[in-house]
């Protein structure tokens, strides 16, 4: 009985590999086709931004390299990324002061850490009216998103329901991507649904109609509902209007997508030979890997240039029986320096890093139009908004980056930052090097030095 999950794991992993191979080949052709368009326009492949979040902090002693400069021996937890060392940056000293509750005695740090992670802003204390700040993926999406069919892609592997905690909305623990300060971007956890969004033609609600016909009617339906919303707006109070404005923004965004689809001829649409996933795999490991595949697929086909991945929710108590124990992640993260708990935490950390490695490996295998690979043109941010799960602190955050951002990012180094350097400085540097014209982000004081290639 206890052996069962392990043997099933092995089997599934084997299957995963077998499926991945033919897919990789066919996708390379697709990517070349997609890449030609950009190459013809005389530009480099676009920069992709991809942000991962893991909850509950990490076991810090095996996370940080022990000396600054070129990365030689990776610390134990990061070792699964050894093959990509040249593209890796590690940091020590980054802090999110905006994750502190600043005098509020109630907040527990979980929601605050996740909310500030990509926004550099402080979560507003409320059980319902959430407010924090625009996240970097969304800023980047607003900058380049009109060039792609989907401005951004939000993924996660745990049901997004999260209750309130200590006066703060559960949304803070769940969603890291924010379209603006008050509109979080929910993530999708079903790989099938993600696949259908990426390749819209297959998700036609109306079986008989052609896409063009369907879109014509969709446009007039959207016209109607927008009209309807406008009339309604004049007869409701300001609180209601804020909600209706979210609706109207959504309608305009969907309209834009339809318009863009109309201007793209069928031949330009990426066609993946990737098999449509059947739903949410029962096996969590398989679920994580499928999401990695889909992110690579979305980037490769230039369907989107910004994605976020909430591996699990902040404060999750999910367990990882295939690692040989059933303790919940959150329970373990309150380790009290117990050796056994720390060992288990390291195992979970390393497992998450290995999944990241799985995605990175695929990105390296994707050749882009100018001969570079997808990882070269990406900026991957990975980390947690909590440092030590037992202390719930936000100092010396466990954060790494991968990818060269199209050659602008210096990599392969461990940066020892001044104590309590705002993590927003790193976020600002990433945005600037991806071409977003801003000088300040969140609580940044300057773009993090040492990253310019």
């Amino acid at each position: 009985m206890p052996n069962h999950p392990l043997s099933r794991r092995g089997l599934l992993r084997g299957l995963g590999a077998a499926v991945a191979l033919p897919w990789m080949e066919s996708l390379t052709t697709v990517a070349r086709a997609a890449g030609t368009a950009t190459a013809a326009a005389g530009t480099q492949p676009p920069v992709r931004i991809c942000c991962w979040y893991v909850p509950n902090g990490v076991h810090l002693p095996t996370w940080f390299p022990n000396r600054p400069g070129a990365l030689v021996d990776l610390p134990e937890t990061l070792r699964p990324l050894a093959f990509a060392r040249d593209s890796l940056n590690t940091f020590h000293g980054l802090t999110h002061n905006t994750a502190l509750t600043n005098g509020d005695t109630e907040g527990c740090g979980h929601g605050q850490g996740a909310a500030s992670f990509l926004t550099g802003a402080q979560a507003y204390k409320s059980q319902d009216a959430v407010k924090v700040g625009t996240s970097i993926d969304q800023l980047y999406a607003q900058h380049v998103g009109n060039a792609t069919r989907l401005p951004s892609l939000e993924l996660g592997c745990e049901s997004a329901r999260s209750g309130n905690a200590f006066g703060y909305s559960g949304t803070y623990k769940t969603l890291i991507s924010w379209r603006n300060a008050t509109s979080p971007a929910p993530y999708e956890m079903n790989p099938k649904v993600v696949f259908d969004r990426l390749f819209a033609s297959r998700s036609s609600g109306r079986a008989q109609a052609t896409i063009a016909e369907r879109d014509t009617y969709r446009k007039s339906i959207l016209d109607f509902v927008q009209d309807d919303a406008r009339t309604l707006r004049g007869r409701i109070n300001t609180g209601d209007r804020r909600k209706l404005d979210q609706y109207m923004t959504g309608v305009r965004e969907v309209e834009r997508r339809i318009q863009q689809a109309a201007s793209t001829s069928a031949a330009d649409l990426p066609r993946a030979d990737f098999t449509r996933p059947e739903g949410i795999p029962e096996d969590f490991d398989e679920h994580l890997r499928l999401m990695c595949n889909l992110m690579v697929l979305a980037f490769q086909t230039d369907t989107t240039r910004a994605s976020t991945f909430m591996v699990t929710k902040e404060a999750t108590d999910r367990n990882y029986p295939w690692l040989g124990f059933t303790d919940g992640h959150h329970e373990l993260s309150h380790h009290s320096n117990d050796d056994e708990k720390n060992r288990k935490l390291r195992e979970i950390d390393r497992y998450h890093i290995a999944i990241l490695g799985y995605m990175v490996e695929q990105m390296m295998a994707v050749e882009e139009s100018d001969g570079s690979n997808l990882l070269d043109n990406s900026l991957i941010l990975y980390g947690s908004g909590i440092s030590d799960g037992d202390r719930h602190d936000h100092v010396d955050l466990p954060v790494i980056t991968l990818g060269k951002g199209g050659g602008t990012f210096r990599t392969g180094q461990h940066l020892q930052c001044r104590a309590e350097t705002p993590m927003s400085n790193l976020l600002l540097a990433m945005l600037q090097q991806a071409g977003v014209p801003i000088n300040q982000f969140g609580d940044s004081t300057e773009p993090l030095p040492g990253l310019l290639a």
């Binding site: 007869r235 409701i236 309608v251």
Partner: protein, 790 residues
């Protein structure tokens, strides 16, 4: 039972002679704060809560009189109330007030502070922020609207939660992905509802042959057909010679006899314009007729040849003859829709069958759309709404779509409209009016009722009451009817799922090595037991406190086996009488016991916290930072029992104030393991479930704790239940203004033996439920105007 309101006169009476004497000398004698509250605060509280030394940010020596205490102390008094009710303050090592003094302080806060803040019976009630349907409500509404179980919300993003519930308007957001999904779901819903005519498999019939006819501007082209009566899908090609492709193709009128349609082009390719349309023939029809639509005669497709840019035709058949040519007419059919094979949803929604002409079809579309939109918007349509919707129908109709398809597209717009997706209570005229409160109209009230008790749209009887204006008169009868209806099961599941946190049971992962017999069948039975318990108390109108302590349980065979109850066979649930009180009431149900446990052990802290928060409505604050958590590794378990280890943890004074409340509650349930099975020992250590509640009430185990809670804590439990139900019913967080509503309902409940219908009646009859309410910003303006006056 001690009732604080009874105590207050006693205290006042004792003070009366003194204050009567001093009345002229001391204005304080008339000030309720100075008379009642301040002497007690001075004696018991200000040692630690004085300005400058205030512990826990509570300063109690800064209020000079009733006015200042009420003006600035709102949040403070709530916390003081909490501390007093829980007997957390004054700390045990400080002088303790008598019970009467406790009650006097509590009564002052409740009556003077909280009720005063609520602003009296005429104060405006807070508005509900326009609620979008959450996932359950969406699915239920689609189900009740169409009669189909489609579970379309599966692909929607998870709903945001506010104040513990996923139907709180201010918390629910919409992002572009929602709009995408709503549009898709609307299409899927109507695809499933309406069967479109299908011409697949019918061979093409060419009606013109190789001939072509020039189409003049002023007269139709006619040719014969010999089609059998029935419906046909036709493809017609018009060739434009010498007319630039950029000129928009003309609209045509095409008839096959009786039926005649005005049509827009479907497609333009080079010189050929294709029209694709559905048309019907009846007995006696003989002639196909093609003409330009009346307003096209002057259009750019019909100009003197000289004016048209010379563009030599590529098609030899026309020999460069500039102008329009009727080229080919291919039909598929005849198609008959056999009513017997149609899904019931089809005939219900498309209840009119139009005759073969545009007017009849438009009339039918109008009737169908009106009925559908009225139900979907949950109110009669407003002036102009129907016409605007029918513009969509006419657009699709002109594209040549079948009647069914054009209606389908129109109804899709209804389901994508904000009036369907939100519970919206707009004003008739401009938003200025929204500043004042108003009673909901009967349709709005019907929707509040149905989304409260059914998580779905109102049904015909409710809408009928609304139409007749009798809903308020028959409100109680409707509530009772609605509770008996099976749709109330949705309320029961949604409410218990969130109030008692039953939804978390779905994600519970008991360690399979320790609990091999835990499976989904058992998990499901656990959930059902709790839902059935609540449903029973609710539908039978039993005392609410029966939820805490009862002499019966609802079990099926898997659950009975789990509990060690004999004689229950099969998967069906039944009510059994219990020989003792090991079971009975939600606290000792396997569902609650499992969802408050860790995968590999019980968690008295989680259980205690759950009781404090969900049952007593007094959630403990978060643990102070930097306190090591309880060591629960295997090694620790060998050294001491969990209880002993928690005692050590509790020795830390930072932890003690909360754990002294949580732990006795949690430990009383140690006779139940991490999946709720009865046990006498935990590993090597015998279980000690005894304890003492704040205020000195002792109990030997859970069997004694349950009646204790149901009686001595009935006030707190009732208030917590009312607060939860009110939050859920309104779809908003509660505010100080709601205190009066809560207390009114609590009085009503207490006066009728805690029978639970009192809560539901109290809620639906309250102004908070019956009025549209005033948004926060406007209320602030109003109150500043009021205070600005004095």
């Amino acid at each position: 039972m001690t009732r604080p309101t009874l105590m207050l006169p006693t205290v006042a009476f004792l003070l009366l002679p003194l204050s009567a004497l001093a009345q002229d000398l001391d204005p304080a004698a008339n000030d309720p704060y100075q008379r009642t509250m301040w002497p007690l605060i001075e004696r018991y509280c200000v040692d630690c809560h004085a300005e400058g030394t205030a512990e826990g940010d509570i300063t109690l020596d800064i209020y000079a009189d009733q006015v200042s205490a009420l003006r600035d102390g709102g949040a403070t008094w709530l916390r003081v109330l909490d501390a007093l009710e829980n007997r957390v303050m004054p700390p045990a090592d400080k002088p303790q007030p008598s019970l009467a003094e406790f009650d006097a302080m509590i009564a002052w806060i409740e009556n003077e502070s909280l009720r005063a803040q609520a602003g009296g019976p005429n104060a405006p009630t807070p508005a509900v922020v326009m609620r979008r349907l959450n996932r359950q409500e969406y699915d239920n509404t689609i189900h009740d609207l169409l009669g189909l179980d489609l579970n379309l919300s599966e692909t929607f993003p998870a709903d945001d939660i506010g104040f513990g519930y996923d139907n709180v308007g201010s918390a629910l957001n919409i992002s572009p992905i929602h709009i995408e999904k709503y549009l898709e779901a609307a299409e899927r819903a109507l695809d499933a509802t309406i069967r479109l005519p299908d011409a697949d498999g019918f061979p093409p019939i060419e009606l013109i042959g190789l001939r072509t006819y020039p189409l003049p501007a002023d007269s139709p082209v006619e040719f014969e057909h010999s089609l059998k009566p029935g419906r046909y899908l036709a493809n017609f090609s018009l060739v434009r010679v010498g007319i630039p492709e950029a000129v928009p193709p003309p609209r045509l009128v095409i008839g096959f006899g009786t039926d005649q349609r005005t049509l827009a082009a479907a497609q333009v390719q080079d010189e050929t314009v294709v029209y694709r349309f559905w048309i019907e023939t009846v007995e006696g029809d003989k002639l196909v007729r093609v003409a330009l639509a009346p307003d096209e005669a002057e259009g750019p497709n019909v100009k003197p040849p000289a004016a048209v840019a010379a563009n030599v035709s590529g098609d030899q058949r026309y020999g460069g003859q500039i102008g329009l040519h009727v080229d080919s007419m291919v039909v598929h059919g005849p198609i008959t829709l056999d009513p017997a094979t149609l899904p019931p949803s089809h005939s219900t929604i498309l209840f009119e069958n139009p005759g073969p002409n545009d007017q009849s079809r438009l009339a039918a579309a109008r009737a169908i759309t009106e009925r559908f939109a009225t139900r979907a918007f949950r109110r009669p349509l407003r002036e102009g709404e129907l016409d605007r919707l029918l513009e969509i129908y006419e657009m699709a109709n002109e594209q040549g779509e079948s009647f069914e398809c054009a209606v389908q597209i129109t109804l899709t717009a209804v389901l994508a409209s904000p009036r369907f997706l939100y519970l919206v209570e707009p004003d008739d005229a401009s938003a200025e009016i929204a500043a004042a409160d108003r009673p909901l109209n009967d349709f709005e009230l019907a929707s509040r009722l149905s989304y409260f008790l059914w998580s779905s749209m109102p049904d015909e009887p409710l809408l009928d009451e609304a139409r007749r204006g009798t809903l308020r008169t028959n409100l109680k009868a409707q509530v009772v009817r609605m509770l008996e209806d099976s749709r109330a099961d949705r309320f029961i599941a949604n409410f218990t799922g969130q109030w008692l946190q039953l939804r978390r049971l779905a994600a519970a992962t008991p360690d399979p090595a320790l609990f091999p017999n835990f499976d989904d069948t058992l998990r499901d039975a656990m959930r059902q037991e709790t839902e059935r318990t609540f449903a029973y108390v609710l539908r039978k109108n039993h005392p609410a406190t029966e939820l805490l302590d009862a002499d019966y349980a609802f079990v099926n065979e898997p659950l009975a086996r789990h509990y060690g109850i004999d004689g229950v066979a099969g998967d069906n649930f039944r009510q059994v009488s219990l020989p003792d009180r090991r079971r009975g009431g939600v606290l000792t149900q396997a569902s609650v016991l499992t969802l408050t446990s860790n995968p590999n052990r019980t968690s008295p802290v989680k259980r205690g916290q759950w009781i404090l928060q969900q049952i007593l409505g007094t959630p403990p604050p978060p643990p102070p930072p930097n306190v090591p958590k309880l060591d629960e590794g295997a090694k620790a378990a060998e050294v001491a029992s969990l209880r002993d280890r928690l005692e050590i943890h509790r020795a830390n004074p930072q932890c003690a104030s909360c754990h002294s409340q949580m732990d006795p509650l949690g430990f009383s349930l140690e006779n139940y393991d991490a999946i709720g099975r009865w046990r006498e020992s935990d590993g090597a250590f015998p279980v000690d479930p005894s304890g003492e509640l704040a205020g000195g009430l002792e109990f030997a185990d859970a069997q004694e704790l349950k009646p204790l809670l149901a009686h001595s804590a009935a006030k707190k439990f009732n208030r917590a239940l009312i607060r939860n139900l009110l939050t859920y019913a309104l779809g908003r967080g509660l505010e100080p203004q709601d205190f009066a509503t809560i207390e009114t309902i609590r009085d009503r409940l207490a006066a009728d033996n805690n029978r639970i219908h009192n809560i539901l009646f109290g809620i639906v009859e309250s102004p908070a439920f019956q009025n549209r309410g005033v948004p926060e910003a406007t209320r602030d303006q109003l109150s500043s105007r009021i205070t600005g006056g004095d």
